[in-house]
Amino acid sequence: MFAYSPDQLLASKSILDWSGNVAPTHKPFDAWIQERGLHFDPFAYLNAVEDPRLEQYFVEHDLFARMWGPASALVFAPPGGGKSALRCQITRSCWIGNETNRPFPIPYLPPYLAWGHVNPSLEDHTSALVLSGAKALLVVLAYRPHWFLRLSLEKRDAVARLLADILPWPLAEYVQVVREAISPVPLRDLLGLEPAFALPDEPRAELLRAWCDAWPRVEDAQSLHPTEQWQRLLQVLLNVFRFEGAYVLLDGLDAAPETGGLDESSAETIAHILKPLLDISVLWEEQGIYLKGFLPLEAYPTILAGYPDLASRMTVCSMHWTPSALIRLIQRRLYVASEGAFDSLAAMAAPGLQDIEQQLAEHLEKEALLLPREMLVLTRAVIETHVARAYTVPYVEQEDVEATLAWYRTARPDIKVPLI
């Protein structure tokens, strides 16, 4: 806990001195790390998809190679196990190069609230996927206007008609957002895509303006069956833009048990959601569409029980972390946050205290919680503990590490990480 000094308390004359928009001196954690040379807090985001800098400090995981490629694949991991970060990494890899000779990523987070239940049919999934795909396509085209601009008028028309039929607002209004902002970013936010869904390099302003002007007017949007819309979307992706294929990046199933109700186990809920997609995955593969599922570990036994031959027809793996990988995760973030000045907590630690990351990782190993999120939590907690205890001391000390580990023993999350 951080307690303000009597001098600070007495000096304050107004509550506005303490409100969140004031100088870092009243945000002790931020002030302390800034004084140590970190230009931002690299441990602020515990949720990978919210982190706008994620791509700067990605840590390559062995599973990337297994999840990438023309095959359906499922990866299982507990909460905070790096699933979403891996998904973001795969998405980013689809944008390497400036052409469409890569797969098209469709981020798919099942819309439970929209459905009002957690037992979707294939049609429910298809309808939601169509919308996800259309949103992703429009945003991608805003980042890569030349892909649209080089199409013939007829093909532009087909693309415009597809998007107009699917998107909830008139297409012209989405284009107007880009026109006014001269950037694809507000469009991405408007369509509800996460901050991590961003292509490298925004286009030049004049190119974006030309793109905005190039969209044909579409009157009378049609309401078609989801299956038909899905086929139209695939046709546009694979035949018009000539993407190598499409990845359906399924995530967000962690949320399902929380919202689905308490009458059945979370694993069963997840299995129900997944079933229509697993059933259709073989047909999809024939069309060049690959399911990439990022799934909660708790669902693994139930899903396997329902599909004993699953591993024979798609890649199935679980995500594990070693202590050295978690240490690398922290070091990478420190390197980026310090703009290359240092890459270890030793730079912020007392002389002789060189192994903070090692101590934390080993503790997580003992607690059977070798998870990236927990490593971030612990690392941040060490600094917070030090700031609360001895703000004016410019380095973390061993007692801060020990106090943090003692706290963690009572505050560890209620997560089970069984071995597979």
């Binding site: 806990m1 951080f2 307690a3 303000y4 308390l9 007495l10 304050s12 004359k13 107004s14 509550i15 506005l16 303490w18 409100s19 969140g20 928009n21 945000k27 002790p28 954690f29 985001y45 515990l46 949720n47 998809v49 919210e50 909460p79 905070g80 987070l109 439970y112 609230l113 929209a114 459905w115 009002g116 239940h117 957690v118 909830p168 607002w169 008139p170 209004e173 107007q176 006014e180 902002a181 507000p186 936010d189 408007l190 369509l191 509800g192 996460e194 901050p195 967000g252 962690d254 949320a255 929380e258 919202t259 689905g260 109700g261 009458d263 939590v377 609360a388 999350p413 209620d414 997560i415």
Partner: protein, 460 residues
């Protein structure tokens, strides 16, 4: 007393909602205030009297204020969610959906209050932003805006009122005619707000009682509510700040949103230094001049007693100071020892007995009941159930100690002469005083009325 001060009122109201006038000047942050203000969902736990509601008002009114002339970049949404938990809550997506729609209504209302207060936010926004904001508000708010906004509307500028009226009657064209999911609705709104300068939406919630008979119902409702966090996870704009009684902390720690770190737990705690400075700032407001605690009372042991009784509770520090402030205000002088003791007798520390959880609080201090046998706790419970009444030793013996139905008369079955139980009751009362009285040798809570019995002084 100097007419510049506001007087003892500053120490009397005890309700954060009534302290608007001086809250800003008296504010002292608790420990970990920066974590409470951090841009992530936080559940702030605190016992009764720890300042939860004051913190709630502080955050609601003051956080996110920008420089003069501009508008706040945080939209504060006050959600009286407790009213939603008065019927059985069924867990699941239907409940999450209902709660989300209710939340959207309150977001729309908060947005209207914001726009009427800061019309330039809307007026200067790009056309697409105006359209999206108007669409959201028209979809989720169909009440009378003047009635709903009340004093906020009445105090708004003509420009603010005109802007809101225009927004409510704005034509949104073809937009929104297709069905838009709740997730997409929220993304639409937050992207528009973000582009317009509102960077996040904070949903604030306070008001859950520290003890409630329908605890299971409330826990069920909270679980359903906290589950909605996961549905907006990809949208970091939405932040929940919940102030909850400490008694719920254990039960909620297993909720997925907490165990999966979608929400952070913070315990509301004040250091002795910060509490002292807080009350001295209040003294300055009350008396019109900087005043230290020692100037209120000349009695030796006053500060030690005060810190002992006040504990870590801002409410109890303020409550216990009230009679001294009133005395000082009226006489201009520090109270001597005799006066101070009289004031304590007339205004003893607040006593709170939680029979269910077997907790006892005296002022801001939780009493250690380890050395109190269950039967003596039963005596306390009986006296607490008969507050401020004179209770005879016979009543205590037969009804509280033996848990009988009535006090027998001589000759009745079960009757025992007073000499058989006087010693037992006297010893029990001695142990009880030792446990609960700030100074057992000079009781103020459990007093003897010679010849009649004892009286437990309870102030609500």
């Amino acid at each position: 007393m100097d007419a510049k001060g506001l007087g003892p009122l500053v120490f009397e109201t005890m309700r954060a909602e009534d302290e608007v006038e001086w809250l800003e000047q008296c504010f002292v942050p608790p420990e970990d205030f920066a974590r409470i203000l951090a841009p992530r969902s936080t559940i702030i736990f605190g016992p009764a009297g720890s300042g939860k509601t004051a913190m709630y008002h502080i955050v609601q009114r003051y956080h996110g204020r920008s420089a003069q002339g501009s508008f706040p970049d945080i939209l504060m949404v006050d959600w009286p969610m407790f009213s939603a938990f008065d019927t059985e809550i069924s867990a699941g997506i239907i409940e999450s959906k209902r709660l989300t729609e209710e939340l959207f209504f309150h977001v729309a209302l908060a947005l209207l209050a914001y726009i009427v207060s800061y019309p330039d936010f809307f007026v200067s926004a790009a056309a697409w932003i105006q359209k999206r904001v108007a669409w959201f508000i028209q979809k989720y708010f169909q009440e009378d805006v003047e009635v709903s906004l009340g004093p906020v509307w009445a105090e708004a500028s003509p420009k603010g009122q005109a802007t809101v009226n225009a927004l409510l009657s704005m034509s949104i064209g073809d937009g929104g005619k297709k069905s838009v999911s709740l997730e997409d609705t929220f993304a639409t709104l937050t992207s528009a707000l973000s582009a317009g300068g509102i960077k996040s939406i904070w949903v604030l919630w306070d008001g859950l009682p520290d003890t409630a008979s329908n605890v299971d119902l409330l826990i069920g409702g909270l679980r359903a509510f906290l589950s909605t966090l996961s549905l907006f996870e990809k949208n970091p704009v939405l932040v929940y700040k919940l102030w909850l009684p400490e008694t719920y902390q254990k039960v909620l720690s297993s909720v997925a949103s907490i165990s999966r770190r979608r929400a952070e737990e913070v315990k509301l705690h004040w250091s002795p230094d910060s509490l002292r400075i807080m009350v001295e700032k209040r003294l300055e407001v009350a008396l019109g001049k900087p005043t230290m605690l020692e100037q209120l009372c000349a009695a030796p042991g006053f500060l030690a007693w005060f810190q002992h009784v006040g504990g870590c509770s801002p409410r109890n520090w303020i409550d216990q100071l009230y009679p001294l402030v009133k005395h000082y205000w009226q006489t201009g002088q520090a109270a001597d020892e005799a006066t101070w003791k009289r004031l304590i007798r007339d205004h003893p520390p607040r006593l709170f007995v939680d029979e269910v959880n077997k907790q006892v609080w005296v002022g801001g201090r939780q009493v250690n009941l380890d050395d109190l046998p269950p039967r003596i706790f039963d005596l306390l419970v009986y006296l607490y159930q008969h507050p401020n009444q004179v209770v005879s030793k016979a009543e205590l013996y037969y009804l509280a100690y033996l848990k009988g139905q009535r006090v027998p008369r001589p000759g009745d079955e079960g009757y025992a002469p007073p000499k058989d139980y006087d010693g037992l009751i006297d010893t029990s009362l001695w142990r009880l005083r030792k446990a609960i009285e700030p100074f057992p040798e000079e009781p103020v809570l459990l007093t003897t009325i010679r010849g009649h019995g004892v009286q437990l002084h309870v102030r609500w």
